[in-house]
């Protein structure tokens, strides 16, 4: 169970990438990010399909790339298994020939048979890729890669060419296979649901940078910085303009929270963590106006407006009654679920609490005066 150490810099045309991470030697690591954020490039750097400008890549004791030592093992000797986005099957070979391509000649037939069976491809052995459905091609690509028994599995958006209702089953199959072969896998995707379903570890990429990396539950609950929160689907992001004595304020109003770091530029909270109540709790609540309600299957979304007209999204179970449009409501933002977010720097791990003082927060005008002061402290 060797961890993968990556510390690379890469530049091409208008794009540059710099990543330093240790990817665990077991389980599925998901690289999540918008298109153009460098997810696929990072994967290609690890595989040896692109050359870093500087840095090093090593899997446990094997050094694959080291700029200073002049080491650069070619891709065919790295023992990485790659599943490409469009599968890159060999069109001139049958399913069995594709799967056996990377296996020593003596073992080829037996290994191909094994993987054809393991991935439910029975009866398709003599077909050509052009005669297969999307899901079947995906499984052939996976089998071809796994048949070589790679030390590291790299999957570049492996489900993007497959119909939505097939993905569920293919994802579950993939998770089962990765668990069975006990090798680490890196999966690149821009699909949040996919990351949630298959990711043991999550890396959030934005603009050539690994903004956040860690265990999945940790990342989903605490994005650390603004850009990562956007990628992770956090829609309630409140800008912070000033703070004082356990009170944080922005154009949207103020909250009585203590422990907010000085470098916090935003406060984030997940839609399902916001409470709804009739009474106005002075410290951790805001007044809002209900705008509309939307059914989303298992949940129901309430959209409301804050003081500065920005939107706040609240999710409730499908069978919970929600206030009518136009109603003035009080929304509770429990301190333990509000996460401070940096810009370009991660504030992950910060725990906020409701401020201890029982006196109400000072009026906004007072806070504004402190703004200059606290900025100068930063």
């Amino acid at each position: 169970m060797n961890p993968l150490d990556v510390d690379v810099e890469f530049e091409r045309a208008a794009f540059s990438l710099a990543v330093n991470a240790q990817i665990p030697g077991e389980g599925i690591t998901v690289l999540l990010g918008p298109s153009g954020s460098g997810k696929t490039t990072l994967m290609r750097l690890i595989a040896g399909l692109e050359n870093p400008k500087t840095g090093s890549v090593s899997l446990g004791p094997q050094t694959w790339f080291d700029h200073h030592q002049g080491i650069d093992i070619p891709v065919r000797k790295r023992k990485v298994g790659i599943v490409f986005q469009d599968y890159a099957l060999f069109q001139n070979m049958t399913v069995a020939q594709n799967i056996g391509f990377g296996v020593a000649k003596s073992d080829r037939e037996r290994t191909a048979d094994t993987w054809i069976e393991r991935l439910d491809l029975g009866g398709l052995a003599d077909r050509y890729p052009a005669q297969l459905s999307g899901g079947q091609r995906q499984r052939v690509a996976l089998a071809r890669t796994l048949a070589t028994d790679p030390d590291l599995l790299l999957l570049d958006e492996p489900f993007s060419a497959v119909d939505a209702h097939l993905r569920q089953n293919l994802r579950a199959q993939l998770m089962g296979l990765v668990a069975a072969v006990k090798k680490p896998a890196i999966l690149v995707t821009h699909d949040l649901d996919e990351a949630r379903q298959v990711g043991d570890w999550i890396g959030v990429m934005t603009a050539g940078r690994l903004a956040r990396f860690g265990a999945a539950h940790e990342i989903f609950n605490d994005p650390g910085e603004y850009a990562a929160a956007c990628v992770l689907g956090w829609r309630n992001l409140l800008p912070v303009s000033s703070w004082n004595a356990g009170c944080v304020a922005g154009p949207w109003g103020q909250l009585g929270l203590s422990g907010v770091p000085l470098s916090a530029k935003w406060l984030g909270i997940r839609a399902e963590h916001i409470g709804l109540g009739p009474g106005l709790v002075p410290d951790c609540a805001l007044q809002a106006k209900a705008v509309r309600c939307r059914e989303m299957g298992a949940v129901r979304e309430l959209q409301c407006r804050l003081a500065d007209n920005s939107m706040l999204y609240i999710h409730r179970p499908w069978n919970t009654p929600l206030p009518a449009a136009g109603e003035t409501i009080t929304v509770h933002l429990p301190a333990q679920y509000v996460k401070p977010l940096g810009e370009g720097t991660s504030l992950a791990g910060t725990q906020l609490s409701q401020r201890a003082s029982t006196s109400p927060c000072p009026p906004l005008s007072t806070l504004r005066e402190h703004e200059a002061h606290s900025t100068s402290v930063v």
């Binding site: 595989a47 070619p74 891709v75 065919r76 000797k77 298994g81 790659i82 391509f101 070589t148």
Partner: protein
Amino acid sequence: MLEALATFDTEPIFLTLQLASMTLAVLMILGLPLAWWLANTKSPFRGVVETLTALPLVLPPSVLGFYLLVFLGKGSLIGEAWQSATGEPLVFTFSGLVIASCIYSLPFVVQPLQAGFESIDKRTIEAALSLGATHLRTFLEVVLPNMRRSLIVASVLGFAHTVGEFGVVLMVGGNIPGETQVISIAIYEHVESIEYEAAHLLSMVLLAFSFVVLLIVYGANGGKREALIA
């Protein structure tokens, strides 16, 4: 017509087929690595090499023939070296014709091959390498089989263009029966001598050949017809 058939001289036909086969063989050996290099290099010389390769496409046969005469002929460096090595000159001989044909037909072989190499999905090559295959195995088992159409088009066009060659042959090879008198020259000779029936017979052979060539090329396209040029 029957009269012409009786005295029909098959020598130009065999000479033409011999010339076209040898030219194609030489061009395939030179063209495959050249096309591969052109399709994959990031070298700054690529543009120059590509332009030189394409030059015979727009250069008139008489200009090409003239420069070949100058550079291969008597008194030229190459011509003299060849003569001292083999005992015969390069111009007005079969060997000279092969060299001239290779230059003349070069773009018709290299360009389809280059397009073929460029049409190969780079990811299938990367996939083969990542599965542990050597570059040679990747080339033989993944690249070549997936550009069969380009190989056929290159072979057929290279062969046909050599068969149809006229101007360069006339200037570099002349009109020596059994040595340099290929079909297209023979037709010209017959027309000049107002032997229209013999010219007709040979023209029919070439016309039929050209039809078959196009059928093969369009057939290789697998229903998806494409322009040969551009």
